[in-house]
């Protein structure tokens, strides 16, 4: 049991349940034909990242990858605005410009959500430099997948962080798969944290089936990072379902899936809560129901929300007040119009 005790575990359980239910509802939104596209990457099986997020301070920053919904929920994002963004609606977090892969809430410390595997990793190095230069005590955390561990940019970023002793943590969510490729077909050494250690970081592996362990280790690694020793957390978990909405994972067999899905931080936490008599099944069920209602409402919210107007397309390419791109039709008018 971690220092937060059972109260903490209950909190983490609720967060994890909110993540799982949110993702299930994303699925529903898709089935109802209301998502903007099908590039929907669910974080079911990865809910224990709640433990990492819980170890972060409010003022810490972070970057996420294409599978970032869970992280944003754990950081406290609004499911309505998330779901709206997934639907490509105007009141979504990115005004309907980003979609599922780019949901980000800068008010919560996000520095971006990337659909380029590894793309957001180096940004935390710069955030760390910023904090150091301004004497701030923040940490910046990069979340990414095991697949991203084969991208060179990770090593460039880790080396800089270690060299400059920056308040930075690299958090690798090792769900065993990059699309159809199991980690042992992508990396010769699958102990990914060992590479971080060789680069001079504080590298640890944690069990993503156990949110308490994840939380406790994250506290230690973050604390260390805050004091100038950057860290790397490899959280082992399992991608319970396909890579994205349309993928049925034909490249892995059922036995493996059944085994893999046993690593389930949500169910494990629930079992522990009951076992420790922190809670009972009935009250957890009612907590789950409440979460379900919240997420159902998010779906309805997103469906009812209005799409962005065509004019909004030309906004935010550059800062407000700066010259924005000229729409094509205006350009054509200047060539073909009467005033030519």
């Amino acid at each position: 049991m971690t220092k937060g005790g059972n109260r903490l575990l209950l909190d983490l359980y609720r967060t994890m349940r909110r993540i799982r239910t949110f993702e299930e509802r994303v699925n529903e939104l898709f089935v109802r034909g209301q998502t903007a596209g099908s590039m929907l990457h669910m974080s079911i099986g990865e809910e224990a990242i709640s433990g990492v997020c819980r170890a972060m301070e409010q003022s810490d920053s972070f970057t996420t990858h294409h599978r970032g919904h869970g992280i944003f929920i754990a950081r406290g994002a609004d499911p309505n605005r998330m779901m709206s963004e997934i639907a490509g609606k105007a009141d979504g977090y990115c005004s309907g410009k980003g979609g599922s892969m780019h949901i980000a809430d800068m008010g919560l410390g996000a520095l971006g959500a990337n659909a380029i595997v590894g793309g957001g990793i180096p940004h935390v190095v710069g955030a760390g430099l910023s904090y150091r230069n301004r004497g701030l005590k923040n940490v910046s955390v990069a979340f990414f997948g095991d697949g991203a561990s084969q991208q060179g940019i990770l090593y460039e970023a880790m080396n800089m962080a270690a060299l400059w002793k920056l308040p930075v943590v690299f958090c690798c969510i090792n769900n065993q798969y990059g699309m159809g490729t199991r980690i042992d077909r992508a990396a010769a050494n699958t102990n990914l944290h060992e590479r971080a250690i060789a680069c001079g970081l504080n590298g640890v592996a944690v069990d993503g089936g156990d949110v308490e362990e994840v939380h406790e280790m994250s506290e230690r690694v973050l604390d260390s990072a805050r004091n100038g020793r950057p860290g790397f957390i490899a959280m082992t978990c399992y991608r319970h379902f396909g890579h994205a909405r349309l993928d049925k994972s034909p490249y892995r067999d059922e036995a493996e899936e059944l085994e893999g899905r046993k690593r389930d931080a949500v169910l494990n936490a629930r079992a522990k809560l009951i076992e420790r008599q922190t809670s009972d099944a009935a009250s957890l069920d009612s907590m789950d129901d409440e979460v379900a209602k919240e997420m159902n409402a998010a779906v309805e919210h997103a469906i009812a929300a209005v799409p962005p107007g065509q004019d909004s397309m030309f906004r935010d390419v550059f800062a407000m007040g700066e010259p924005q791109p000229r729409p094509l039709r205006q350009h054509l008018s200047s060539i073909l119009g009467e005033a030519r």
């Binding site: 490509g88 309907g96 697949g147 119009g337």
Partner: protein, 334 residues
């Protein structure tokens, strides 16, 4: 063999199968090309047919993949490296532009890099700003690269077959929205030689110069224009390098009017090059300025309606054509 109806995807796949069967030095590598069968299914079944040595699933490491392909090409193999989305090209441009493109020249002709980089771009799937770009102009800027962008099923097959016999690096850019499109494949009859344009529709009033998916939007526009008494000639350039200037120049000399249609943004897109060349060479024949109909100068938004609005539609092309030829302004220009 007679022509058969098939999809762009299957034509590409067939080209790979035929080429790999014929030439044992060809192998395919890239993310998810093997067990997964390719993100867009082009390489489905190849692993079973050709085995793991010739269908290589790679880690997610785009620069390394292209770099490895270069080394393989330099040592007697003919790699087909798949870059899942052209948007990831930014990770590979050093290998593409400084290594693949320049090796022959920089080493005084001692070595070549006969590789094909297959990738796909464009909009149509609400895949947002980092998965929907049209970045062909990054490649056309670099001497030493060939750049090919097939629109039709027959070209998908034949241009890929030709690319796989080519001595220099070929950037082969497919369009994500064309994979499921059907068309005629005649494995014995390419639509024309490597580096030659194809006139997809003949016309007398205006020349539309285009490539990739915009060929079909342009053809639809030409059809609509015909309804207004405007006869449009549609030229599919197919290869951006080598570029067949002569076909479109001859056409514009005949029609006296030209539109260049691309999905890429306007600024610095390949349409600029085409427009400049037409104006240079057809100056004395042009009745009106060469007009570019292109994507908006913005990142691609995820919302389906905005995404559609960010790139040319058949309607926009037709409206612009009518304006250009008949001086009938579209409603939005009132």
């Amino acid at each position: 063999m007679a022509a058969i109806e098939t999809t762009y995807r299957d034509a590409l796949r067939q080209a790979l199968i035929d080429a790999m069967t014929e030439d044992a030095s060809i192998f395919v590598m890239g993310e998810e090309v093997g067990r997964y069968g390719g993100a867009y299914g082009v390489t489905k079944g190849l692993l079973e047919m050709f085995g793991e040595n010739r269908v290589v699933d790679t880690p997610i490491a785009e620069a390394g993949i292209i770099g490895a392909a270069i080394g393989a090409a330099m040592t007697g193999s003919r790699p087909v490296a798949e870059l899942m989305y052209i948007d990831f090209a930014g990770l590979t441009m050093d290998q593409v532009a400084n290594q693949a493109a320049k090796s022959r020249y920089m080493f005084g002709g001692q070595i070549g890099v006969p590789m094909v980089l297959r990738t796909q771009g464009g909009t149509g799937r609400s895949a947002a700003a980092q998965h929907s770009q049209s970045l062909e102009a990054w490649f056309t800027l670099i001497p030493g690269l060939r750049v090919v962008m097939p629109a039709t099923v027959n070209d998908a097959y034949h241009l890929l077959r030709m690319a796989l016999k080519h001595p220099d690096p070929v950037i082969f850019i497919e369009h994500k929205a064309l994979y499921v499109r059907k068309g005629e494949l005649d494995v014995d009859n390419p639509d024309g030689a490597w580096g030659k344009s194809a006139i997809r529709r003949e016309g007398t009033d205006v020349t539309i110069v285009t490539y990739s998916k915009m060929v079909f939007e342009s053809l639809a526009a030409a059809e609509a224009l015909a309804g207004h008494g405007v006869s449009a000639e549609v030229i599919d350039i197919r290869c951006l390098n080598p570029l067949d200037d002569e076909t479109f120049i001859t056409s514009v000399m005949k029609t006296g009017r030209a539109m260049v249609v691309t999905e890429a943004v306007m600024t610095s897109g390949f349409a600029a090059e085409l427009s400049a060349r037409i104006s240079e060479r057809c100056f004395d024949f042009l009745e009106e300025p060469v007009v570019r109909v292109t994507g908006e100068d913005i990142p691609i938004p995820v919302s389906p309606a905005l995404e559609r609005g960010a790139v040319p539609s058949a309607q926009l092309i037709a409206e612009t054509g009518l304006w250009l030829v008949k001086r009938i302004a579209p409603s939005w220009a009132a």
